[in-house]
């Protein structure tokens, strides 16, 4: 290769680098290992994780153990989808651009909002981006945020808004849903945007329409963070007066994968099209009049608009979004409704079964779709953690300890249901939880005695 380019050594290629900045020693890395040793090493690291296939998991809190059909792996593995970079050259990227366009169309239909981008990184940063959109749109200085938003979304919004000087005001929950009086009282003409989550972090279905209407008079942008599968049976954001709908797309065709990568969806009313972040695929015609696809409205993005861009993102989670649109196509319009109805029924059954267990009580009685919150009669967050450990030792992960994020629910447990959780597994969970709580309380009595 050196001979082909007319250079006598590799050193010559670095001739332009000044002496003063050269390292002049080997990199501080361990020596290379043979491939088989690398494989053994990685395997031992991987074995330290318990994955969803190793235990019956009721763990949710934002990402869910849904079945990923084989067709997704098959299509994602195609090099035409797996290997290309951003489709700046439409003439060689029609397949990838068309997939983005179909994905955007699917998100628009799911949310009943006319415009969607080609995906962003994940749910919480999509919430943050929606905040920035509102700030660009109306220049106001405050966000009103329901405590029903996922803790990661609230934290991301706080971090980003600190950067551009917007204040975050939190509205508490009452009986498991956003306190509507406190919500209305917090909104004024200094409110840039309001944020609700549907269903909320405690699994409860909010009155999104009422929450959106309360913000209309003030002119604040209404942002809703939505779980995509329940959207099949809940009123979509576009019908509730929500201006910007975002959410975590993982449950559409992506595995848990230790938290990522996944994708976030971002849809909005036409009025906010030019302030949207992210890639947008557009439909057009070529010089011969044939239908084609291109990246469009790129003047929003930072490679053109620089510091005035609508976001710093200039990419999409194209492969994960591809999994999402394949999954939606695989389910179909009826299939997604069937799935959501199955989740609704099974979750109702699970809540009933668990609340019948000694030491378990509902944390709220609101309608739920795929996740619900209970309180355990044990001593604080530590007690809940020990109950979880006992269940996991027996091969079942009972759910998420709410006390980790919400001080007001130290003994809360968030239980998630997917179509993979059978009635037998739910019954087993109920029995196991009862036993674990009893053992924990016995242990607590032991401690007090000692």
């Amino acid at each position: 290769m050196l001979a082909a380019i007319g250079v006598s050594s590799v050193e010559e290629l670095f001739a332009a680098i000044p002496d003063g900045v050269r390292l002049r020693r080997d990199l501080d890395l361990p020596p290379g290992m043979p491939e088989q040793d690398v494989y053994e090493h990685l395997l031992s690291l991987a074995r330290r994780n318990t994955c969803a296939e190793d235990e019956v998991t009721f763990l949710g809190a934002g990402m869910y153990d849904h079945y990923v059909p084989a067709v997704i792996d098959m299509l994602l593995g195609r090099s035409e989808f797996l290997t290309p970079y951003t489709p700046y050259q439409p003439e060689i990227s029609q397949g990838g651009l068309q997939v983005m366009f179909e994905y955007q169309t699917a998100i628009s239909e799911l949310t009943a909002l006319p415009v969607s981008n080609a995906s962003v990184y994940e749910g919480p940063s999509a919430v943050g981006a929606a905040g920035y959109l509102a700030k660009l749109a109306n220049g106001r200085r405050r966000f009103v945020v329901s405590r029903g938003l996922h803790p990661h979304s609230r934290e991301t919004l706080r971090t980003l808004s600190h950067g551009y000087g917007t204040e975050v005001v939190e509205v508490p929950l009452r009986d498991g849903v956003t306190d509507q009086e406190a919500w209305a009282a917090a909104i004024d003409d200094e409110t840039a945007a309001v944020f609700l989550q549907q269903p909320n972090f405690l699994g409860a279905v909010e009155d999104a329409h009422a929450l959106a209407q309360a913000a209309k008079a003030s002119g604040a942008v209404v942002v809703g963070s939505y779980d995509p599968i329940p959207l099949a049976i809940l009123a979509p954001p576009g019908d509730c007066g929500v201006d910007v709908a975002v959410g975590e797309g993982q449950s559409l065709g992506n595995r848990l994968d230790f938290g990522g990568p996944s994708f976030g969806f971002f849809a909005a009313t036409e009025a906010y099209l030019r302030r949207m972040p992210g890639r947008i695929a557009g439909e057009t015609h070529d010089v011969d009049g044939r239908r084609g696809f291109v990246l469009t409205l790129q003047t929003r993005e930072q490679h053109i608009r620089r510091e005035k861009a609508t976001s710093n993102i200039c990419t999409a989670q194209a492969l994960n979004a591809l999994a999402g649109v394949v999954y939606l196509s695989w389910l179909g319009r009826e299939g997604i409704v069937e799935l959501a109805e199955l989740l609704l029924q099974r979750t109702a059954y699970a809540r009933e079964a668990l609340c019948a267990v000694e030491g378990v009580a509902a944390l709220h009685e609101q309608p739920v779709v795929r996740e619900f919150a209970v309180q355990l009669d044990v001593g604080g967050l530590e007690g809940v953690r020990r109950v979880i450990d006992r269940c996991q030792d027996a091969g079942v992960n009972p759910g998420y300890a709410l006390g980790r994020d919400l001080d007001e629910h130290p003994t809360g447990l968030l239980v998630a249901i997917t179509e993979q959780r059978t009635r037998e597994q739910i019954d087993r969970l109920a029995g196991m939880l009862g036993a674990a709580i009893a053992a924990e309380r016995a242990g607590e009595r032991e401690e007090v005695r000692a």
């Binding site: 030019r274 003047t299 053109i304 608009r305 005035k308």
Partner: protein, 127 residues
């Protein structure tokens, strides 16, 4: 607009903006050179009536298929009218930059600022 033109009844700012003075009011826009450099204009987001302009500073943005450009005010004043037609027909900025493509009308706060603007010949020779 096919050929370059710089009407002699206008005053020009080096950042490619023009002003048509009429007493203590002025109509503002971008020059043929600016629209030609931008390419096909697709969007103009007008400022609010009542907002102020400061000579030499940006008061709005013009967006084309390939770029976004600040529009520099040649003169200081208060915006009394904006060209609402441009939201439906932004291409007027390309086709008729000195006529239908006007951007805003202001009430001047300092008429003496006009003395520091260029006439058509000076502007054209600076290009």
């Amino acid at each position: 607009m096919a050929d370059a033109s710089y009407p002699t009844d206008l005053l020009y700012h080096p950042e490619h903006d023009w002003a048509r003075i009429d007493g203590d009011h002025a109509t503002l826009g971008i020059t043929w050179f600016a629209q030609d450099a931008l390419g096909e204009v697709v969007f103009f987001d007008p400022p609010e009536v009542g907002a102020t302009t400061a000579a030499g500073e940006s008061y709005a943005e013009v967006e084309s298929v390939k770029a976004v450009s600040d529009v520099i005010a040649p003169l200081s004043g208060e915006i009394v009218e904006v060209n609402a037609e441009l939201s439906d027909s932004p291409e007027a900025i390309n086709e008729d930059p000195y006529g239908a493509g006007w951007l805003v009308r202001i009430r001047l706060s300092d008429v003496s600022e006009t003395a520091s603007l260029l006439d058509a010949a000076s502007y054209e020779s600076s290009l």
